[in-house]
Amino acid sequence: MSTDQIIVQIEHVSKYFGSFKALSDVSLDVYDGEKLVIIGPSGSGKSTLLRAINLLECVDEGRIIVDGTNIVDPTADINKIREEVGMVFQSFNLFPHKTVMENVNLAQMIVRKRSKEEATKISTELLKKVDILEKENDYPGKLSGGQQQRVAIARALAMKPKIMLFDEPTSALDPEMIGEVLTVMKKLAREGITMIVVTHEMGFAREVADRIIFMDSGMIVEQGTPRDFFEHTKNERAKAFLDKIL
């Protein structure tokens, strides 16, 4: 951790889907520069919690403070906050009618109001970083899943966010493509940006995470450093989960 400053503060957050309680009184502080990995069985609320941080899901109770702004407050300028929070999705969600370069340029130009030259310069740099610059003029439909996901990471980074959210970024990928995406994410982790990652890749969690959060039934039931979590967890549910997947 680079500093001890809290950048995301989640306070007593609850969320219902009808009568189903997806999040149940969750509280969590994320520190600036921290690499946080959230794991847990499906339906445990980990994706919901992640999506709540940039308000793709609105919560029913509690407060979420991102970089000093309470985003649950209806008067908060949500677009402003989302500029600071990059998001990478399981299904990539690249814009299919735009080329790779245009995908990375678009929000820079219309949200950040950068000129095309300026945006292209930043995009070129980022596409080089995720090692896909040679495809800059292709449409997403021609790329493999792993390539699309790397473009999606570049697109989110182009906004120069303070926080990056990853929602199961490798779950939709063929096994041989998972590695190339994780490599990019590890590279990113070394640069000190705050990362919150929902994943099933335990190797990645062990290697990159400063802290691991284990969720079940909408609650955080266990957290700790990778070493504590993987080797010394006392929590029964976490143990059962780890036994199943490791």
Binding site: P140, G141, M159
Partner: protein, 262 residues
């Protein structure tokens, strides 16, 4: 129709050409050709072999064709505006906007166009004084706007939710998301059915002839009323409508192909 981006997770090989089936199979294409050139040939033959009265009809009708074009084009432009606004209203989370749009669509689709034409021309004509052609364009646009709104709504809904989420998570406003991400993609789904509406609108524009708008049909009636050549006049009117409609549907087809290639 091939839409490579729908298969998000697969790698699409693009062949050198020829492998992608074209929209028009041969049967449809030749049917269009037979109808189109047949109609033109028939007009030419009739005028050539029986100039009286066909040549006179041929000279008499073009004014009406221009009026039909004018009414159709203005109605298309205006109905697109109504359709887009009401279509966005139908998917809006704003209750009032949504409610008004839904009401508009339900009411207008439940009243025959002919009744709407009468209503705007005669009933509203008592309150505000509008020219026949204005009334015609306004009622056609209101009517077709309601149908087009439903096409817009369906087209916008057909774009996966993830596209909106991706755009919003990059800080785009709902308007920017619609303008730069959703609509450009939805156009491909929207265009074919909207094109069909245009063709239908062109044909329905013949209804405005009862508002004393001198369109193609009315010119035919006027000619027939003077000369009593009902058979000849309406044969020519029908052939002209057929030719114009076939041209328009061809144009719509070409436009679709263009958009699909881009």
């Amino acid at each position: 129709m091939p839409k490579p981006w729908k298969k998000k997770q697969s790698h699409i090989e693009v062949s050198e050409g020829g492998a992608i089936p074209t929209r028009n199979d041969w049967g449809l294409f030749s049917a269009w050709r037979i109808a189109f050139f047949g109609a033109i040939l028939m007009v030419v033959c009739l005028v050539f072999f029986k100039p009286d009265p066909y040549l006179d009809i041929l000279k008499f009708l073009p004014d009406g064709i221009l009026v039909t074009f004018k009414v159709t084009l203005m109605s298309i432009a205006l109905s697109l505006v109504f359709g887009l606004i009401a279509g966005l209203g139908r998917i809006s989370e704003n209750r009032l906007f949504n409610g008004i749009s839904s009401l508009y669509v339900e009411i207008i689709r439940g009243i025959p166009l002919l009744v709407q034409l009468f209503y705007i021309y005669y009933a509203l004509g008592q309150v505000v004084n509008l020219s026949a052609i204005t009334c015609a364009v306004v009622s056609m646009s209101i009517c077709y706007g309601a149908y087009i709104a439903e096409i817009f709504r369906a087209g916008i809904k057909s774009i996966p939710e993830g596209q909106t989420e991706a755009a919003r998570s990059l800080g785009m406003t709902p308007f920017q998301t619609m303008r730069y991400v959703i609509l450009p993609q939805a156009v491909k789904t929207i265009l074919p059915p909207v094109g069909n509406e245009f063709v239908a609108l062109l044909k329905d524009s013949s209804l405005v002839s009862i508002l004393a708008v001198s369109d193609l049909l009315r010119r035919g009636r006027e000619f027939a009323a003077q000369s009593f050549d009902y058979f000849e006049a309406f044969t020519m009117v029908a052939l002209f409508y057929l030719i114009i409609t076939l041209i328009l549907s061809k144009l719509v087809g070409i436009m679709e192909d263009k958009i699909n290639v881009d």
